[in-house]
């Protein structure tokens, strides 16, 4: 296959435009670091270069081999909820909906999962622990599906913009989480120096099974959640590409009216798609907080939404809403923010990586522009290749053509000399 044909493929174009978005975001982030260095005594230009290195090295920016292994394990663990919210945004996007409510659905999943897991003390019985974990995960999914169906319902029945409804449900769910957990005194961690935290599944013994992964990545939080996320990504991929139902969802996304004319129930599809999206984001919340090492700070939850919900958006966009690509992008975004966490060693703060992620979304907005640019480039190359091929064929036979080409080449010079002549005259 030749190069230009390769570049014309939709998938390849998406990958290239995503890479361009990332590069543009990182470059701008670097410029911001340089600017900060110029206007701030604490950092120098050298620090900016060092900072860029740290960002690009992610978990490997630590020199110690043992730390690196732990960091990689943590990176995989923290990318699990990102992959889930990314899948959530992606499947909604395929149906033509913008699920900005993943944060609220994430909270609903957290709430449901922790209410089940933390209320059932199964310490000492791994089998029971696993069953409770499974029940917690499934309840979380159900809660998220119901929560996610609300914006879908409003969109389908009342034709209300799903973005507004999603935002409203986000804040409602954030308040519900704090409200409910302030009334569950048994679940609050009251050990010294703790305020506003819940106990974890380490106490109740029904955390996500580790499957020995914690032996591979010693000292990290990693558990089998990542395997659940990957399995779900594959399931969503199969549903979207291989089933009639998935086809209907995509049809609604590309043309609502066309789908209706073809006899599809587009209203039902909108609600179901948002419900699935809600379920996925909720599983993200559940997998995150069911880890024995992660504790929920519930008392301030009502005033801030989880960043995982919003960071699902760049994950989905950069992955072109392809469920399989979402896995890799999720890990990549976490890679970047992990680099951000280490930025303090170069004199910067971790929020630089937040800026970069936001910039990447900004650029992802005009990925169509990037794609058009790539298409143009491919066409140019194709033309050049065609001309080269033509020239190669015509070279031995046609002498006149060649001289013609030469004449063309000489033309500007000729014009120049003519111009000079005119001037001298």
């Amino acid at each position: 296959m030749n190069m230009s044909g390769f570049m014309k493929k939709e998938g390849v174009k998406s990958v290239i435009s995503s890479v361009l978005c990332i590069l543009a975001g990182v470059l701008l982030g670097f410029i911001i670091m340089v600017l900060l260095a110029l206007f701030n005594d604490r950092t120098s230009i050298g620090d900016a270069v060092k900072g860029l290195g740290i960002l690009l090295a992610g978990p490997f920016s630590s020199g110690n081999a043992a730390y690196i292994v732990t960091n990689v394990g943590d990176m995989i663990f923290y990318s699990t909820p990102l992959i889930m919210t990314g899948l959530s945004v992606a499947i909604a996007y395929k149906t033509g909906l913008f699920n900005i409510g993943a944060a609220g659905q994430f909270y609903m999943g957290t709430l449901a999962a922790l209410m089940i897991a933390l209320n059932a003390d199964t310490n000492g019985s791994p089998a029971m622990g696993f069953l409770v974990w499974l029940a917690a995960l499934l309840t979380a999914m159900l809660a998220g599906m119901i929560w996610g169906a609300i914006p879908g319902f409003f969109k389908a029945v009342f034709n209300v913009n799903e973005v507004i409804v999603c935002i409203m449900t986000n804040w409602i769910s954030a308040n519900i989480v704090t409200w409910i957990f302030t009334n569950t005194p048994d679940l609050i961690n009251r050990s010294a120096g703790k305020s506003g935290y819940l106990i974890t599944t380490a106490v109740t013994g029904n955390g996500t099974p580790k499957l020995g992964l914690d032996q591979v990545f010693k000292g990290s939080y990693i558990d089998m959640g990542i395997l659940v996320a990957i399995a779900l990504a594959i399931v969503i991929y199969v549903i979207l590409t291989k089933t009639t139902f998935g086809y209907e969802l995509r049809a609604c996304g590309s043309n609502k009216y066309g789908a209706r004319c073809a006899g599809m129930n587009e209203k039902r599809n909108i609600i179901v798609s948002m419900a699935i999206a809600g379920g996925l984001a909720a599983i993200g919340g559940a997998l995150y907080y069911l880890n024995p090492g992660i504790e929920l700070k519930f008392d301030t939850a009502y005033s801030q939404l989880p960043s995982y919900g919003f960071n699902g958006i760049p994950v989905a966009l950069l992955g072109s809403n392809n469920p399989i690509a979402v896995i890799f992008v999720g890990i990549f975004i976490r890679f970047l923010s992990l680099g951000g966490d280490h930025l303090t060693s170069a004199g910067y703060n971790k929020y630089i990586s937040d800026i970069i992620v936001a910039l990447i979304i900004y650029f992802a907005g005009f990925s169509m522009f990037f794609k058009g640019f790539i298409t143009k480039l491919a066409r140019k190359k194709e033309k050049a290749a065609e001309e080269a091929a033509k020239a190669a064929v015509q070279k031995p036979s046609v002498e006149g053509e060649k001289t013609g080409a030469k004449a063309d080449e000489a033309a500007p010079e000729k014009a120049l000399t003519e111009g000079k002549e005119a001037e001298t005259k």
Partner: protein, 317 residues
């Protein structure tokens, strides 16, 4: 009761002006989801300049300083909104994504720059910014509502609101701008520069959001500019939809939601609400839940600009 009305006015003002900002952008044809981010950014720049002014003692009159800082916040909101208009108008990018990106960018900028230059994640204005508040404890009850524990920003906002509402309906430029939101090709066919009008609408929108952002933190949020503004921008967007993209509707919507929004933080100081024994979270949820109910009822007869969210394409007639 007087207390509740005073608080309602204070909460209403930022919502009112930001919702009008949303209207300006959408009537010109650009969905401005970034109101929240523009508020955060405007508030941040405003808080920094107020800090610098107070430290340098530039203004002896606090009210004058308040007005100057409001203008600075408006300018910074306008500049920040150029990011959105550039991607939405020039590059014809997805406006929802662009707006979301700005909403994520603003908090990140606030945190990163506040940490880099002030060593904290948020900017707190010095305590003497309390001089902004106007006190008239001895006035009659009616006067108290409007002139006691009041802020000059409320009146600035009302004046700007009225002037701009008249402007968009009665002047030539205003009418042209609205035409660009309804049918840009028709507007272009009579010689209106659609791109220019949309840039103008979005920039005014950003300015109003920046102004509202600083008014919010100076009057409601104890002078703290941080990475979150508690969904005020989105609430303003909902008020704009509630108001059917018209100033009069927005005015009543802002009053209603200003009232609902202020109950959560102040219910403890109002006896009959306190006696109900409901938690703060319940009152916090009310405005958001009411938005949903109201949208469900009003969405069918929507006065939504026909061309909003669609990038202008000269070739499409």
């Amino acid at each position: 009761m007087i207390f509740l009305l005073q608080k309602t006015l204070i909460y209403t003002a930022p919502l009112l002006i930001v919702a009008l900002g949303g209207m300006f952008s959408e009537r010109s044809g650009v969905i401005n989801l970034a109101l929240e981010g523009e508020m955060i950014f405007g508030a941040f720049i405003g808080a920094i300049s107020a800090r610098l002014f107070l430290e340098a003692g530039v203004f002896s009159n606090m009210q004058l300083q308040f007005i100057v800082v409001l203008l600075i916040s408006a300018a910074s909101g306008a500049i920040f909104s150029l990011l959105l208009s550039f991607s939405a108008i020039k590059l014809k990018a997805d406006q929802t994504i662009g707006g979301t990106a700005l909403n994520m960018l603003a908090p990140a900028i606030v945190n990163a720059f506040a940490l880099a230059f002030f060593n904290m994640e948020k900017i707190q204005m010095p305590a003497n910014f309390q001089g902004y508040v106007i006190k008239n404890p001895d006035a009659t009850p009616i006067e108290q509502i409007f002139a006691d524990k009041a802020y000059i920003s409320t009146y600035v906002i009302v004046v700007v609101f009225i002037l701009l509402s008249i402007w968009i309906y009665k002047t030539r430029t205003g009418m042209r701008m609205r035409a660009c939101g309804e049918h840009p090709q028709a507007a272009a066919s009579v010689g209106v520069n659609v791109f220019k009008m949309r840039y103008l609408g979005t920039t005014i929108s950003g300015a109003l959001a920046g102004l509202g952002g600083y008014a919010y933190i100076a009057t409601v949020a104890n002078g703290t500019a941080e990475s979150s503004i508690a969904g005020m921008g989105f609430l303003a967007l909902a008020i704009m939809i509630f108001g059917n993209w018209k100033p009069v509707g927005i005015f009543f919507g802002a009053l209603l939601f200003g009232f609902l929004k202020c109950i959560g933080p102040v219910y403890n100081s109002v006896d009959f609400l306190k006696n109900l024994g409901l938690p703060m979270y319940f009152y916090n949820i009310i405005p958001y839940a009411v938005v949903l109910v109201v949208l469900a009822i009003t969405a069918k007869k929507s006065g939504c600009p026909k061309a909003e969210g669609i990038p202008y394409d000269k070739g499409m007639r």
